[in-house]
C-alpha cells in the first residue's frame, strides 16, 4: 500500500485532545492576516503547487466587511 493510499484509507480515530499550543501561535496578527499566512504555507507545501499556479490570478487582499 502506498503512503498516499494509507493516508486515504479510513481509520478509527482515537479520542484526541486539542493542542493548547495552537492557541498561542501568531497572536499579534488579526485572524484574516493569520489565515493568509497560513494559506501561503499550505500552498507552498502542496505537491500540486505548480498545477494550482495555472489557476491563480495572484492573491489580492480583499477588503473585509
Amino acid at each position: 500500500m502506498s503512503a498516499d493510499e494509507k493516508k486515504r484509507k479510513l481509520q478509527l480515530m482515537p479520542e484526541v485532545l486539542p493542542d493548547p499550543r495552537l492557541a498561542r501561535k501568531d497572536r499579534d496578527a488579526r485572524p484574516r492576516e493569520r489565515t493568509i499566512e497560513h494559506m501561503k504555507r499550505l500552498l507552498a507545501l502542496t505537491a500540486s503547487a505548480s498545477a494550482l499556479a495555472a489557476y491563480s490570478r495572484g492573491y489580492a487582499v480583499v477588503d473585509p466587511l
Partner: protein, 550 residues
C-alpha cells in the same frame, strides 16, 4: 455531472456530518462529492478537485468540524477563490454557528454560514442557489446583505426519524478485516458542562433538554443494513452521549436495542460507545457488554478534583469517577479516558488529585491536557467577563490561576507535547493498540491468548505511571525551585527520559500488533506496524502461485 455540491471536511473516519448532508442532498436531486481535507498534504488536491472540475459545483459546503482547524478551512476558502471558483461557499458546524458574524465580517470569500444542524438547510440553500432565489427565506442561515450580516430565523431541528441515513460511499475502515462504521443513535447530550460547545449548541435549539433520540428499531435496521451491505462488524456510536438520564431508562433502551438486533438476527458484532461517569451502572453496563458486545467505552472522566468538577460543571463527584472505573474493571471492559488537568481554576492540590487518578486507573489508556475555550461556551463567556483570556474568536488563550500552576503547565507542555498531541502521539497510538487486542479477543477467540491482553494492559500501565511520575516530578520541581532559571535544563533531562519510555513502549506496542496480525492472518491492525508484513494466508498464496499450483 452537471450540477453537484462539493462537501469539504475531515474524513479520517466517515464524516457523519458531511454524509448525512450528502444523503439529504441526494434525496433532493443534488449529487455531491466528499472532498477530504485531513491534513496539510490534502490542501492542494482538495482545491484542485473543485477548481479543476469540468463543471464547478453549485455550492461548496465546508465542515468546520473542529475549531482548532478553522484556520485550515478558511484558508481553503481563500485559496479556492484565488483559484477562480465563483460559486457559493458556505460553512457549518458548532464553531461556524457561534462565530458566524465574525467569519462573514472577516472573510468575504465565505457567502454564508449554516447554523445548527444542516441537512435541511443545505438542501434549501442548494435549491435557492440553483434558481437564484433569495436566501432570506431559508431558516438557519447567516449571510451578507448590503454590507451587513443577516441571520435568518432559528431552524427547526430535523426529525431524526425522517432524515435519510448517512451516505456510505467508499470502503469502510477496518481492524483485522472487520469493517468499522460510525453511526449515531441520538444527537446531543443531557449534561451542560461549561466548556462544551455541543451542549451550548444544543441549548440553542432544545433549552433545558439538549438531546433527542432515534427509535431503537430504526438504529437496529441501520446496523443490519451496514452489516449486510458493507461487512460492518464494529459499530462505533458517535453519539455525543450514548446514554440518557437515569439508569432505568438506560437499561430499557439498551435492552430494547439488543432485543431489536436479536430479532433481526444480526451476526457477530461489537460496539464502541461514549459515556459520562454518572452513566456507568453495573446492570446497564452488563447489558452493554453482554448483549451489545461493547468492546470499548470512552468515559468522560475529564477531572477527578472537586475544584475541576465544579469549574467544568460536570454534575458528578470523584466517587462516581472511581466507581465507574471499578465497574468496568469488574466487567473486564476496555475503557479509555482523557483528563483536563489544567483549567482556569486549577491549583496544585487539584492537579495532584488528578495525578493520583492516573495511578488509580493505569491499565486503561488515557491522555491529559488543558481545557480550551470554545466559541459559544459558558466558560469562554466567564473568562471574557473576568478579562482573563486573550486572543480572538478563532482561538482564545488564557493564563492559569496562579503563576506556579502556569509554570507547571508550561513545563508539562514542553515535556509532554510529543507524547500527548499530534497524529503520532503515543498516548493516542496506545488507544489503537489496545483496541487491536480487544478486536482479537472478541472476534478471534480461537487464536486469542490472555498474555496479549496482559501485555496490552502492561503497556497502558507503563505509560500511565510514567506520565503520572513525570507530572509529579514537574510539580515537585516547581514547589522546590522558586526561580525558573534552570527550568530548561530540567525539562531537557525529563524529556530525554520520557522520549526513551515512549520508544520502548512504542516498540512493544508495535510488536504486540505484529503478533496479533500474525495470529489472526486477516487484514491489518489499527496500530501502524510499519513494514508490509505478509500474513500467513498471503504467504501461502504467494507460495502456491510460485509453485504453479494455481
Amino acid at each position: 455531472m452537471t450540477k453537484w455540491i462539493a462537501l469539504v471536511g475531515p474524513e479520517i473516519e466517515e464524516n457523519l456530518s458531511l454524509r448525512y448532508i450528502a444523503s439529504s442532498l441526494a434525496e433532493h436531486g443534488f449529487p455531491s462529492e466528499i472532498i477530504p481535507f485531513n491534513h496539510d498534504g490534502d490542501f492542494g488536491a482538495a482545491i484542485l478537485a473543485i477548481a479543476g472540475a469540468e463543471t464547478p459545483p453549485l455550492v461548496v459546503g465546508i465542515s468546520l468540524a473542529f475549531q482548532w482547524r478553522a484556520r485550515d478551512f478558511l484558508a481553503f476558502a481563500m485559496a479556492l477563490r484565488d483559484a477562480g471558483y465563483r460559486g457559493h461557499i458556505t460553512m457549518g458546524g458548532h464553531f461556524a454557528t457561534f462565530a458566524s458574524d465574525d467569519i462573514l465580517a472577516d472573510y468575504p470569500e465565505i457567502d454564508s454560514v449554516v447554523r445548527q444542524e444542516a441537512e435541511e438547510t443545505m438542501v434549501r440553500l442548494a435549491k435557492a442557489i440553483e434558481i437564484s432565489s433569495p436566501l432570506a427565506a431559508i431558516s438557519g442561515l447567516a449571510y451578507r446583505k448590503d454590507g451587513a450580516v443577516v441571520r435568518t430565523e432559528h431552524p427547526q431541528l430535523p426529525d431524526l426519524a425522517k432524515i435519510p441515513r448517512p451516505d456510505r460511499r467508499g470502503d469502510p475502515a477496518a481492524c483485522f478485516g472487520h469493517g468499522i462504521a460510525p453511526l449515531v443513535s441520538s444527537r446531543g447530550c443531557y449534561a451542560n458542562c461549561t466548556f462544551c460547545c455541543i451542549a451550548a449548541w444544543q441549548e440553542q435549539s432544545l433549552p433545558g433538554k439538549r438531546y433527542r433520540l432515534r427509535e431503537v428499531g430504526d438504529v437496529a435496521d441501520e446496523m443490519i443494513e451496514l452489516q449486510k451491505t458493507r461487512g460492518i462488524d464494529i459499530f462505533v456510536f458517535h453519539d455525543d452521549n450514548f446514554f440518557v438520564p437515569g439508569h432505568k431508562r438506560n437499561r430499557e433502551r439498551l435492552s430494547a436495542l439488543a432485543d431489536a438486533l436479536e430479532a433481526r438476527k444480526i451476526g457477530h458484532f461489537a460496539t464502541v460507545v461514549k459515556a459520562r461517569p454518572t452513566d456507568v451502572d453495573p446492570e446497564v453496563f452488563r447489558i452493554l457488554k453482554e448483549r451489545l458486545h461493547c468492546i470499548r467505552v470512552y468515559i468522560g472522566i475529564e477531572t477527578d478534583a472537586d475544584q475541576g468538577l465544579k469549574t467544568l460543571k460536570r454534575w458528578s463527584h470523584s466517587k462516581q469517577n472511581h466507581t465507574a472505573i471499578e465497574i468496568v474493571r469488574k466487567l473486564d471492559l476496555y475503557t479509555c479516558f482523557n483528563m483536563l488537568v489544567f483549567d482556569p481554576d486549577t491549583e496544585i492540590e487539584a492537579l495532584e488529585t488528578n495525578i493520583q487518578f492516573m495511578r488509580f486507573a493505569p491499565e486503561y489508556p488515557s491522555n491529559f491536557g488543558r481545557v480550551e475555550l470554545y466559541a459559544g461556551t459558558p466558560l469562554l463567556a466567564r473568562m471574557q467577563q473576568e478579562e482573563r483570556c486573550h486572543g480572538d474568536y478563532m482561538q482564545w488563550d488564557y493564563e492559569l490561576g496562579s503563576p506556579a500552576i502556569e509554570r507547571i503547565f508550561q513545563l508539562s507542555m514542553d515535556a509532554f507535547h510529543v507524547r500527548n498531541f499530534g497524529g503520532d502521539a503515543l498516548a493516542n497510538r496506545l488507544m489503537g493498540t489496545r483496541f487491536d487486542v480487544e478486536v482479537c479477543r472478541h472476534f478471534h477467540r480461537d487464536v486469542f491468548r490472555e498474555e496479549w491482553l496482559d501485555e496490552g494492559k502492561d503497556l497502558n500501565r507503563a505509560l500511565s505511571i510514567d506520565t503520572a511520575d513525570g507530572l509529579q516530578e514537574i510539580v515537585d520541581w516547581v514547589k522546590t525551585h522558586e526561580s525558573s532559571e534552570k527550568d530548561d535544563d530540567f525539562v531537557a533531562q525529563l524529556s530525554a527520559r520520557l522520549r526513551k519510555s515512549e520508544r520502548d513502549i512504542g516498540h512493544r506496542a508495535r510488536n504486540l500488533a505484529r503478533i496479533l496480525h500474525e495470529a489472526i492472518g486477516i487484514g491489518r491492525p489499527l496500530t501502524e506496524i510499519g513494514d508490509k508484513v505478509a500474513t500467513p494466508l498471503q504467504r501461502m498464496m504467494f507460495l502456491d502461485a510460485a509453485s504453479g499450483d494455481r
